[in-house]
Each structure stands twice: as C-alpha cells, then as structure tokens.
C-alpha cells in the first residue's frame, strides 16, 4: 500500500539521515529562494527527494519540458531581479536546458542551473543518461561546477549565487553526481562558508578620470546621443539615466532589450534603434558627434554595418563587462562600471551645457515626420494593429513577453514601455518558444500584474505544453498568438532576399488553438477581424483567469522600417513616406 504524503513526510523528517541533496536544498533556502523550476529524473532523484521535504519552503513548479522550465526561470529573473532556479536531471534533462542557458548567457540573465549527474563511478563510461554537461555548458555559462566532494556543496552554491548575480549577470551551472547528492553526511559542517573566488572581482565603480573625460566631451558636443541598454535595468539605474538625460537634454535611443529603462513616452526618447528601429534613432546614431552607450553591447542587429556606424562620433561606453568595451566598436572613452555608479558619478560633475539646440530640433522633426507607421486594412488584422490594441487595453502597464520574429519587433515598436522590467524578450539568442514560458515565470514573480505573452504561431508551438501550468498554478497569463500561419520573419526575408521562395516557412496546417486551450481547461478566443478582436478585448483583460487568443493576421505584412543585412544606419528602407 502506498504511504500517504503525510506519512512519507514524517518519515523523511524523523528517521532518514542527512544527505548531500539536503545540503543543497538548505543552501538554496539560505539564499532566499522562493520559486524553483524543476523536472525530475533518475540522477536527480536524491535532489527531488530533498526538495519534497522542502515543499513549504518555496514554490516548486513542474514544467512539462525542461526548456519550458528554464525559459520560465529566465522570465522570473528578468522581472524580479532575482536569480531563476532550475533543477533537471542528467543527460537529456541537462541537454534540454541548453537553449535556455545560452539564451540567459547572451542576455545576461542570472540563473542557477542544477543538474543531476550519473554517479562518479559511471562518469566517462557512457552510462545511462550520461552526458558531459561540463563540456557542453562551458561556453554558455558564466561559470560551471561539478561537485566532487559533498562538503563543497554549501560553498559552491554560495559562489554560484554570487557569480550569477554580480558583475554582468549570467547563468551558473552546478552538476551534481548522484553519489554525491545521495551521500550521507555524518560530520558537522561549519555554519558559515566563505566565498573562494580570488579571480572574480568585477569593477563596480567608474574610474573618475574617465567620467571626467566624458563630462568634458558632453560639454563640447553639438550632436550628442545617449544609447540605453539592458545594463541600466540590471543596475536599477532608470531614475539616474532619466535625470542625466534631462540634465543635458540628451536625446535617447534604446536597444531592444533596454526598452523601459528610459520612459518610452518621454520627449527626449527617439525609440528603439537598430535593424527595425526608428528613423529618428538610427539617423541620430549615424550623424551624432558623441555617442554615450550605457549598458549596451553594440550587437550587430543594433549597429548594422560597422563601417557606417556612428562614423563621426566620439564613442563613450559604460559597461560592467570590460570585454564588451571595444569588442565591436572602437571606443574613445571606456568606463568599466555598474551603470548606476557611473551615472551617479556623471551627475556629480558640474559640466557646461552642450550647445545643441539645432540638433534637438532636427531630431524632433525626424520624430514628427518619420514615425513608426503601418497601413491599417479595412477589416482584416495586422500584427502592428493587434499590438496597439493590447497596449491600449492594458494602458501600457502590462508585463509583455515575446518570442523572436515579426511579432517581437512589432511589440517593441508599438507597445510603449514607460517603466523598467516590464519587457521580457529573447534578444541575443532570438529563441523561438521563449515568450510563453517566460510569461509563466514573470507571472509567478509578479502575481498582481497583468502578464501578456505576445507570441508567434511558430514559436508558441515549440513550448505550448506549458499550458498545463496555467491551470495548475492558477496563473492568469494572457496569450496573444499573432497568427499569420507562417514563420513571419523567415517569410519576410525569403520575400525580400530569396525571390519569394518560401522554403518551409508557411504553416498550412495548424491546430485549432481554441480547442487546444479548452483541452487544457483554458479560455480560448479566435478573432479573425478587427471587430472580433476589439469585441474580445474585455473578455481577455477583464477575465480573471488565463486566456489564449488566436489572432489571425494577414500573412503578407512585413516589419518596417528596416536596415537590410550588411547595410548601415543611413540605409533604412520602409521609412514612412
């Protein structure tokens, strides 16, 4: 006869000796973990047994695929500012996490990833569910550990949290062989463990000589531009960056992931820059004589052809990761620092106002004359219009998550973010299937807020199995599928650059998404016209529970404006005529 849960719990509490996995869970509790995303398996059984005993200590979420759990952890980390915790088993459990680890690495999200591993006696023997997780994850983690001595667990966990959350955040993986997690601990371990990281001392405060240099450059600038990246969000420096921009009337361009760091409705804000950025931002970056990059990494989707990126500008770059400075764009004023510390320092300098009235007028005209635009059809829907409706219905206050592709770019263009930490998107890796599980993590972190997953029909089908969690955990996530029955961005590029050869990008067969939602006991709504969608809005946002909306949009709609691959900031196409 099966024991009841209560009996099992009592047995666990009284009789069984402490094992390595208990040390791990204790360490997680010590770090203040409140939510954990896990998926069990053979080599992780001791860990999950220890977690079972800690069910009252933190919320434990069972995703339906490890990729779902790690993207949820990323969403959680992005909006909460705390590290996302993921536990999976060895072999396939670990390899299913790889996409999420790489995504977190390139977008600097703090994660603690714990993987079970086969027993040490089996490591290297191609044992069942054995994979070289250390080898696989070394290039995509900020750091990784394989525990070789059970007594190291408390120190390793403490170091992992420290590494993941300080400096430039990132994922840290801890691989725990099964014999270690199951090893009985018969000695008393010291309560306090010390970090042992002599090679890790991230620079936090700026060099005052460099900030002085930047201050002087500002006073001499005639065409200054401030580029705001996600580093401002990690440093929680939104207030400071606004004060700084206002103090010197610096026009602001944002990266994709930096959206929300500076208010999107501010008169100095020019919009997102880059491949699908605004004319005002891209032109300003092309023409500027001083470019101040705070917390962005000059990604190729932002810069376009480097030869014509800010060709006449003095470039100042504030970044906590010294390796980012000068990596892609030669930098005149390097400032290795936390964004907030650098801004505080810059604000303390008393510098002469730049004379740039003409520049501000030009930027204002560009904003007025060449805004983001679309032609609204009579009845049919297009993605841009759908996003605008969602923006208005949520009064711009929702947390928005996306996958990658057309819907992502439209969300970045037409959902105006006025506050930090409301925008959760897969920027660097461009991961399909990210948006929906990320929304789950975001909703768990912020239960009171409206969370909208704006996803494509392609990406959603990669991780839709996580619909199970919505009912299970009572999460009112609103899923808006911008459904063009195609891999829209792929289709757009095939149209533009491959003579309309739509190779494998058209989805002629799709599930009935409404029935699919209902199969998971979730409200499903299909809208094929603007009228239907407008009518559905109250049903979506006034309803307390989760809703899945299949918004059928025109397939042929493209994302504009655009800088074609290999082209420069000054070669935009599709700007408002």
């Amino acid at each position: 006869m099966e024991r009841t849960q209560k009996q099992a719990k009592e047995a666990a509490e009284t009789n069984e000796p402490k094992i390595g996995a208990d040390l791990l869970v204790e360490a997680l509790i010590n770090e203040g973990v409140d939510t954990l995303f896990g998926y069990p398996g053979g080599a992780a059984l001791p860990i999950f047994d220890a977690l079972y005993k800690a069910q009252d200590e933190f919320d434990q979420i069972l995703a339906r695929h490890e990729q779902g759990s790690i993207h949820a952890a990323e969403g959680y980390a992005r909006v909460s500012g705390k590290p996302g915790i993921v536990v999976a088993t060895s072999g396939p459990g670990a390899t299913n996490l790889v996409t999420g680890i790489a995504d977190a690495m390139i977008d600097s999200l703090p994660l603690i990833v714990i993987t079970g591993q086969v027993a040490q006696s089996l490591i290297g023997s191609d044992g069942f569910q054995e994979v070289d997780v250390m080898g696989v994850t070394t290039p995509i983690t900020k750091h990784n550990y394989q525990v070789r001595d059970v007594q190291d667990i408390p120190r390793i966990v403490k170091e992992a949290f420290h590494i993941a959350t300080t400096g430039r955040p990132g994922p840290v993986l801890i691989d725990i062989p099964r014999d270690i997690s199951g090893e009985i601990i018969d000695i008393d371990l010291p309560n306090n463990v010390e970090l042992d990281l002599p090679g890790y001392q991230p620079t936090f405060k700026p060099n005052p000589l460099q900030t002085k240099k930047l201050a002087e450059a500002i006073s001499k600038a005639r065409k200054p531009v401030l580029l705001t990246g996600a580093g401002i969000l990690f440093a929680k420096a939104s207030k400071e960056v606004q004060e700084f921009a206002e103090k010197y009337s610096l026009p602001v361009a944002s990266t994709l992931l930096g959206l929300g760091a500076f208010p999107g409705d501010h008169p100095l804000f020019m919009g997102m820059a880059g491949m699908h950025g605004t004319y005002a931002s891209n032109t300003a970056m092309y023409e500027c004589d001083l470019l101040i990059n705070i917390g962005a990494r000059f990604d190729d989707r932002l810069t376009g052809n480097l030869a014509s990126f800010a060709p006449n500008a003095t470039v100042a770059h504030v970044d906590i990761d010294p390796a980012e400075i000068g990596k892609n764009v030669p930098t005149d004023i390097p400032i290795v620092s936390d964004a907030k510390q650098a801004l505080i320092r810059l604000l303390s300098h008393d510098i002469q106002q730049p004379e740039h009235d003409k520049w501000l007028v030009r930027i204002h005209e560009n904003k007025e004359n060449y805004p983001l635009w679309f032609n609204k059809p009579q009845e049919d829907m297009i993605g841009q219009w759908v996003i605008k409706q969602v923006y208005e219905a949520t009064k711009g206050n929702a947390i928005v998550t996306t996958d990658v592709g057309q819907h992502q770019m439209w969300a970045a263009q037409f959902y105006t973010f006025t506050e930090p930490d409301k925008w959760v998107s897969s920027g660097g890796l461009g991961t399909m299937g990210f948006g929906f599980p990320a929304a789950i993590g975001a909703q768990l972190a912020k239960p009171e807020e409206t969370v909208v997953a704006i996803v494509g029909d392609g990406g959603f089908q990669m991780t839709l199995q996580e619909l199970s969690i919505l009912q299970e955990k009572g999460l009112p996530v609103k899923i808006i599928i911008v459904n063009n029955q195609a891999l829209g961005m792929v289709r757009q590029w095939q149209e533009s650059f491959y003579s309309e050869r739509y190779s494998q990008s058209i989805f002629n067969i799709q599930p009935d998404f409404v029935k699919l939602a209902e199969a998971y006991d979730i409200k499903g709504i299909k809208a094929t016209t603007q009228e239907e969608f407008t009518k559905a809005l109250p049903e979506i946002f006034d309803y307390e529970g989760p809703v899945l909306v299949d918004a059928r949009v025109l397939r042929q709609e493209n994302v504009f404006p655009m800088i074609a691959p290999g082209k420069g900031l000054n070669e935009m196409i599709g700007v408002k005529p």
């Binding site: 250390m134 070394t138 290039p139 002599p198 090679g199 990761d321 010294p322 390796a323 000068g326 990596k327």
Partner: protein, 173 residues
C-alpha cells in the same frame, strides 16, 4: 602577429577546457600551450603562443581570458623583457660512426644526447625558439625520426629596462 600570453589560473577541474574552448570560439589560433604548477599551491601557469590578427583582437583575447572565474591574471608579455624557453626532444637516424660528429654539432647549442640505440640518437635541447629551429635545421640532413616540443614557457625578467625597444619580439622569430 604572434604573441606570448601568460595566464595564472586556479587548479580547478575544467579550467583548461574553459580557456582553450574560449580561444577556439573567438577564433584565436594557438601555436603552443604549456601548463604547469607554480610556486603557489593550487595555482597553475599557462603560457600560450597565439596568432592574432591585430591589437583589437589581442585585447579581446586577454579580456575574455580575464573574465573567466578561475583565471587570476593574464599578461601579454611579448613586448616585455622576458625569459622564454622551450624543451625539445629530437630523435635522429644515427650510428656509432656519426655520434662524434653529431656531438660536435650540438655542443655549441648546449644540447645533450639523452638516449642512444643501434640506429638512432635522441637529443634534448632547451632554449629560445630560434635556437631550437637552428639546431633542427642542422640535424635534418641526418634524418629526423621524431620531434616532441613542450611549447614555450616564459616569464618576465626580474629587471625591466627603462625603455622597451621591442627587440624581444624577435624571440618569436
């Protein structure tokens, strides 16, 4: 251009993999790499000779190495006053008649014969790469059966000249 880079690292599992993987991912060609323990318990020193396109790439490689948690210190010592040495073992075709002749060739290089067989001779030589290359060329006519090289290991001299004239770059040929 060739550069000599040294890295002090912690003796932890995976550190060599992390460092070499990084060099490979960022497309830096490693000409040689040598690793060994140092005077400090738990610390190792790696010496790389890398082929790098330009100074911007070089800066990237040192920054990327420095970023690794288990890497304590990275230095590009190419333009410093340094001591750089490599140990090379050379096995050549030989017989008893040739032995004295070969002895005469290797002596100015302060190389030594460390193994002898009926038809071969093994020579050990230590030194800068150009010296080693010169000896190999002199021995080549006898027929080289095998060469094993450790790669360069190096550190900066105790005393640095006031002005660096760059002549030490010639160490790398």
């Amino acid at each position: 251009m060739k550069r000599i880079i040294t890295a002090t690292v912690r003796n932890r599992s995976g550190v060599l993999n992390r460092v070499t993987g990084l060099l490979q991912r960022r497309q830096f060609n490693i000409e040689s790499i040598s690793v060994g323990r140092t005077e400090t318990e738990g610390m190792s020193k790696m010496t790389f000779v890398v082929e790098v396109e330009d100074f911007q790439k070089l800066e990237q490689v040192t920054k990327q190495l420095n970023k690794q948690i288990d890497v304590i210190k990275v230095s590009d010592i190419t333009d410093k006053a340094i001591v750089a040495r490599e140990l090379v073992l050379i096995k050549i075709v030989s017989n008893s008649q040739l032995r004295a002749e070969i002895q005469g060739i290797i002596e100015p290089f302060r190389a030594s014969i460390i193994d002898v067989s009926k038809d071969s001779l093994s020579i050990q030589v230590t030194g800068k790469p150009d010296k080693v290359e010169a000896l190999i060329e002199l021995l080549r006519p006898y027929g080289i059966k095998e060469i094993a090289r450790t790669g360069i290991t190096a550190f900066v001299r105790g005393q640095q000249p006031n002005t660096v004239d760059g002549s030490f770059s010639s160490l790398l040929g």
